[in-house]
Amino acid sequence: MKYIVKRILQAIPLLLIITFICFMLINLAPYDAIDSITTPDMTKQEIEAKREAYGLNDPVIVQYGRWLGNICRGEFGYSLRSRTSISYDLKSRIPSTIKLVLPSYLTAFLLAIVLGLVAGSHKNQWQDKLIDGICSIGIATPTFWFAMIIMFFFGYKLELFPLMGMHTIGKEDSILDFLQHFIMPYVVLTVGFIPDLTRYVRGSTIGQLKEDYVIVQKSFGASKAEILFRHVSKNVLLPLITKLGMALPMLVTGAVITETIFSWPGIGPYFVSAVQAMDYPIVMSILVLSGTLVILGNLLSDILYCVTDPRIKSMK
């Protein structure tokens, strides 16, 4: 318990640092914050008055404080181009991204555990060679290319699935319709997540199989499967749980490319078009968001680890 509190306290300064870096980047960016507040037909005096009212003439550190306060209240400011409230956009887009990333990541996670254990326990046999070989190719394959291939065959040639979006308009309530839109990006994303995770599981399985306790078990005559599922899997899965925590930021930024290709109305296309249009307030909001999630994710994984592995408590 004490350890968890300590970790939370440690995370706070890190959060401050990361937000400060983001804020400095915003200030470095070649745009004037006043542009997102004013409209083109305002006079110079009106603009100056706004500038004063919004505190844009204050020292940087004061501005940072106010900005941080706004972020804490969930106010991210306004888009330069469309002048919409960024929080409004994020509120509609983050759930879409989560709907896509969460199922994909969990599927990949489960599949990777199975594949990794199989490969690791059959090291250098055909199962391992096959799985590891496919993973090597998978790692070398750009997500967007795989997406294009899937799109070409299943969207264009076989016409099985719709090519873009999340819903057919007018059928926002139809789950079947959602699933039809969902399946291609879901497959692409899952396949994208699998190789890294599998290799990780495989690596730690191989490592565990070399441990003394395995040799001891072997000498006691335990069967291979028994060792694998009783003892090794437990020790492999524990560190994996921490991976789950670290995957937290992916809920926002895990599918930028896939979403863009399939026009999934999540954070991805929003971010990419903001970058292209140099819409700095949006870009920076997403930066802050993902930075914060990274730290929270690390915190979460530490806590998970600490909860699941009693040894940590006594160590620290």
Binding site: I18, I21, A29, W145, M148, V283, G291
Partner: protein, 287 residues
């Protein structure tokens, strides 16, 4: 010396018995040679021929022409040049930063180490796609800034590796002795520690090239990469997406080349790891 020979032999053994490694090496040599000598080809990759746009493959244009009548095959080859240049130079950038940070952190330890490693943590945790695009915004679009931006955000792994190598090297007697008799720390690092971490760097470098090529192609695919008329494999794929239905073959070549190149660099890295960590193969052969 003897130890080194054993390492070399391990690599040789690995090459002999791993057909995929041989393939990777041959492929890489071929693609590098093609990228170097493609400039001697008589076909100009940027020459427009709007009257013959979007033609399908023929003997004159092996992979057809693109939306402005440019020869697609030659553009793919030039695209490879760009991808490889970005890969290699971004790798160099990240190695320079990574090695410097890792050496400083590992050698000085204490508070310096602590601060540097926290920075490494921060950098390596923010998703690359966010970081790279954000910083990319502050630079002018172009080849040089892509290289710098990718380099700036891929040095963390190398810094970690180098740091731990330095930490273990520091424990060795001869380094401790040098420190003891008062040889300046910089000199000690350069003359004693650097050679020990060198193999690690080489291994990391090949993996770094692969990932830089991957990042570049993703960026270009999102339209945030190299500036037209220059093309890389990623930007070629981006424009081919537009014609996926009419000319799917345009998406084939750059995609396969990216996969083969990244795969080969990774494979090469695996083989080189045998050189750095001889025990890996030794262990392998036992089982």
């Amino acid at each position: 010396m003897k130890k080194k020979n054993r390492r070399l032999e391990n690599v040789k053994y690995e090459f002999k018995h791993n057909k995929l490694a041989i393939f990777a090496a041959i492929y890489l040599i071929a693609i590098i040679l093609v990228s170097i000598f493609v400039v001697f080809s008589s076909v100009d990759p940027d020459a427009l021929d709007v009257a013959h746009k979007l033609q399908s493959p023929s003997s004159a244009h092996w992979f057809g022409t693109d939306e402005l009548g440019r020869d697609y095959f030659i553009r793919v080859l030039y695209g490879g040049r760009v991808s490889l240049v970005v890969g290699v130079l971004a790798m160099l950038t990240s190695i320079i930063i990574g090695v410097t940070v890792g050496m400083v952190a590992g050698y000085f330890g204490g508070i310096v180490d602590n601060i540097l490693m926290r920075i490494v943590d921060v950098f390596s945790s923010i998703p690359w796609i966010i970081m790279v695009t954000v910083v990319g915004l502050l630079f002018k679009k172009g080849l040089a800034s892509i290289i710098i931006v990718i380099g700036l955000f891929s040095w963390m792994e190398i810094a970690r590796l180098v740091r731990s190598e330095v930490l273990s090297a520091k424990e060795r007697e001869y380094v401790q002795y040098a420190d003891f008799i008062g040889i300046p720390s910089g000199k000690v690092i350069m003359s004693h520690v650097f050679p020990t971490v060198f193999p690690t760097i080489i291994t990391a470098a090949t993996a770094q090239i692969a990932s830089a090529i991957m990042v570049e192609s993703s960026l270009s695919f999102l339209g945030l990469g190299v500036a037209a008329p220059m093309s890389s494999w990623g930007s070629l794929l981006q424009s081919s997406q537009q014609y996926l239905q009419k000319a799917p073959y345009m998406a084939v070549l750059p995609g396969i080349l990216i996969i083969l190149t990244v795969y080969s660099f990774n494979k090469l890295g695996d083989v080189l790891r045998v050189f750095v960590e001889p025990r890996i193969t030794a262990g392998d052969k036992d089982e």
